[in-house]
């Protein structure tokens, strides 16, 4: 059962453009929603995260928008740069004793120079 659905699978944008990646979840027990960035041959690294009590969080060029009623959240990358080319994963974590993350299937972002 895929608990976190991510789209699109791949995305190509021009330098300076806006990259938007969407995720939807099913389990209302999720209480923490991070985005991870992964470069080839490397492990995922935390980019930005949000909790469901806020609708938006911004860190530099990266913004998470969160819609609790729709059970959806998205990552916006403003002024996309070639160095942003990587695979992005949304994830979610359940409240309570279990602390593991459930990841989406990933979006391969390519930013053209």
């Amino acid at each position: 059962q895929q608990q976190v659905k991510q789209s699109p699978q791949s995305l190509i944008v021009q330098k300076g453009g806006i990259s938007i990646i969407n995720c939807a979840y099913e389990n209302t027990a999720f209480d923490y929603f991070p985005w991870y960035q992964q470069f080839p041959g490397k492990g995922p690294a935390l980019l930005i995260a949000i909790r469901p009590d806020v609708s938006e969080k911004k860190e530099g060029r990266f913004t998470i928008s969160f819609n609790k009623s729709a059970k959806q959240f998205s990552l916006h990358i403003m002024d996309s740069q070639p160095g942003d080319s990587a695979t992005y994963f949304c994830a979610a974590r359940k409240s309570g004793s279990a602390r593991q993350l459930t990841f989406g299937s990933g979006t391969q972002l390519t930013v053209l120079p």
């Binding site: 991070p34 492990g43 995260a49 994830a91 602390r99 993350l101 990933g106």
Partner: protein, 115 residues
């Protein structure tokens, strides 16, 4: 080291063989996780340790998979009677104490290829 260290970085084995993958977490991190990442997919949870004990092993696919963390630091993922379907990158992650922000610090992974 400063980050999570995983060895070997690459392992090629034959079907039916036994494999051990090692993870050395960030010093002082009490929580340790193993994930498996197949090509083109997101990491899939396998097992979580808090200290020496496996707090949640619900992600282990079957009894051929086993992991230990005897002294609460280094962990070893053990795979018996490997199958071609076990081929993947096995990621280890660690995090600080229980009440942390939730950030996982991942290693670069061990790529397992079963021929």
């Amino acid at each position: 080291g400063a980050g999570v260290s995983q060895t070997p970085s690459n392992k090629v084995t034959e079907k039916g063989k036994y494999v051990e993958l090692r993870c050395d977490p960030i010093s002082g991190h009490t929580a340790l996780y193993w994930y498996r990442q197949s090509l083109g997919q997101g990491p899939e949870f396998l097992i979580y340790f808090q200290g020496t004990g496996a707090a949640d092993d619900s992600g282990l696919p079957n009894d051929r998979f086993f992991a230990v963390r005897p002294e609460g630091s280094v962990s070893t993922l053990k795979i018996q009677r490997t199958e071609r379907g076990d081929s993947a990158v096995y990621l280890c992650a660690s995090s600080p104490t229980w009440g942390n922000t939730g950030e996982l610090f991942f290693g670069e992974g061990s790529r397992l290829t079963v021929l």
